[in-house]
Subunit: 88 residues, 2 copies
DNA sequence: TCAGCATATAGTACAAGTGCTACATTCAAT
DNA sequence: ATTGAATGTAGCACTTGTACTATATGCTGA
C-alpha cells in the first residue's frame, strides 16, 4: 500500500476553469471525492486515476506522482532550457 | 469506483523473464498480490500502479487500461502499418 | 440583503486493495 | 524419487477509497 501520492488535479481544474462539481459530474463520482483527492486525504483508485487522466487528456504521470511536483518556475520545469532565460 | 481494469503485468513479466515473487519483492508487496492483479481479481491502488510502471519503465497506460488490450498480431497493434504486410 | 456556488469538515456505511497463512498442483533440476 | 520454484485457491484481518448527508464558511451577483 501506500505512501502519499501527489496530484495536480486542482491545478488542471484551475487551468481549465472548471469546478469540483463539474469535474465530479463528468467523472460520475461524488463531488466530495474530488475534494478529498485535492486535499490529499486519500488517493484515487487506479480506475478513477485513469478516468481523470483521460478527462484532462494527459498521461497519468502528468497528474499523479509518488514524488511532489516541482513548482512552476522552478529549475525542474525548465530542464535543458535554462539558457533561454539566463541569456546564453 | 470501478469497472474492470485490464493489465499486462503477466506479459511484461514474461517478456523480461521475471517471476511473480521477484516482481513482488522488487515492489515490496506480497507475492500473492501480484497473482491477484494478474488474474484480475482486483486492480492495484494508484500507488502500486505507479510503482509497477516505474519498475517496467513504461507509462501507466501501457500496462493498465479500462479497455481490453488488443492481442499481439491484431489490427490495432499494426495501425497504419497494415499495408506493409498486405503488400501494397 | 439574500440566493446560490464553491469549498471545507465531520461522520456513517460499504466496497475494494493488501497482507498473510496454509495447502494443492505442476514442472524442472538434481 | 524428491526437492524446490512458480502458480492457483481460499479465507481472515485490516486499511483505504467512495458515496452520501449535514452543516459551516466565504464570495459573487441579482
Amino acid at each position: 500500500m501506500g505512501e502519499v501520492i501527489y496530484n495536480r488535479i486542482a491545478m488542471l481544474r484551475a487551468e481549465r476553469g472548471i469546478s469540483r462539481r463539474q469535474l465530479a459530474d463528468a467523472l460520475k463520482v461524488h463531488y466530495q471525492t474530488i475534494g478529498y483527492l485535492e486535499r490529499g486525504e486519500y488517493s484515487p483508485s487506479l480506475y478513477l486515476a485513469l478516468k481523470i487522466a483521460e478527462y484532462f487528456e494527459v498521461p497519468v504521470e502528468v497528474i499523479f506522482s509518488t514524488k511532489p511536483f516541482p513548482r512552476l518556475g522552478s529549475e525542474d520545469v525548465h530542464r535543458g532550457r535554462r539558457a533561454d532565460i539566463s541569456g546564453a
